[in-house]
């Protein structure tokens, strides 16, 4: 490929990735603008993280004030639905929110798994309110 044309292609790729980064930042900011709690169904979104290795996808979810027996993990084709009832109801004023009345009773979230995994070989660990779900990647 001629040098000039090659450089132009690199610029297009750079611009493309630049746009994706900007879009991701905007999305991040937009998503952060809504509260992390929902009074209609008395839920709060937990903090969570997805890590991928060559062999598995590991999802961790922070579920303070819960017991292992109250945690439910429902796999679907490419996502996990996680819910966990808290040991006690939390009034919003306990969280420093005084302009709303309501209570939070459980954590709830959907987590999309970005690569194909074997959900039927999923394994779950729970320790001190931290949930860890291991899913082997499909080969």
């Amino acid at each position: 490929m001629p040098e000039k044309k090659k450089r132009r292609s690199f610029n297009v790729v750079d611009e493309y990735f630049g746009e994706i980064e900007e879009w991701a930042e905007r999305m991040d900011e937009t998503l952060a603008q809504k509260p992390s709690w929902n009074l209609k169904d008395c839920t709060m979104e937990p903090l969570r993280e997805i890590n991928m290795t060559a062999t598995e996808v590991v999802v961790t979810v922070d579920l303070p004030l819960t017991e292992e027996s109250a945690v439910q993990v429902r796999p679907t084709d490419n996502s996990l639905e996680i819910s966990a009832k808290m040991r006690r109801k939390l009034h919003l004023h306990e969280l420093g929110i005084s302009y709303h009345r309501g209570e939070i009773q459980k954590f709830h979230c959907h987590i999309r798994i970005p690569v194909p995994v074997n959900m039927d070989r999923m394994s779950i660990k729970y320790k001190k309110g931290m949930l860890e779900v291991h899913m082997p990647r499909k080969r």
Partner: protein, 248 residues
Amino acid sequence: MSEDVKIVEETKVPSGATLIFGFPDVGLVGLIAASHLVDELRLTEVAYVDSTLLPPLIVLHEGLPHSSMRIFANHDILLAVSEVPIPTDMIYPIMDALIEWGRSKSVKMMISLSGIPIQDRQDATELKAFAAASSPEALKTAKDSGVEVLMEGYMVGPQAVVLQRASKYGSPALALLAQCFYNYPDPEAAAEVLKSLVKVTGVKVDVAKLLEKGEEVRLRARDVMKRTQQEMSKMKKGQEYDIPMYVS
């Protein structure tokens, strides 16, 4: 002091104290530890940071406005705390102003409380704390107190600026870092870093209450953690995981 950042004193500020920094960072270790210090040592607000560089944000307490970045004190401790993450672009001007202010108060040492993220944190039964210092003398203080030294690695964030500037000015400074979660509030790590603060300074702090209410702290801290994650990604905090290549 930078004209863009002012430290406004509300009452008499003691001289010759230890200046401690507790800012939102990995695992919110510094912020959680600082919040516990304010409660345990019954520190009172003596000054706040006023800057047009910061987002237009105040913290309301009992209907009244407070700066999100305040300095609490007793007779021998000054504690700078931020309740929201410092925007990445503002870290240098804010830290420069705080360090300069601290030097004007003849602080005997500056200590940043923070964390060092580890993989498989949830499986760790005992957490370790490490120290890095601005000078060989400050490092000796940490070693003599029984705090392990962080021998090699990268440091990103306010604590990096403190060590860098303190080294330049010849002021003693330490960064105390407890092993922690990267993305989750970690009260156990905050307790660990406070134990190393006790070793280094001799200040009396009981961490039992902090550990007891750990789950509630994690719950209350989740939104600050989320905001902090965004800033950490902007400042490329993940670089601390990198294998160092020190050129000697």
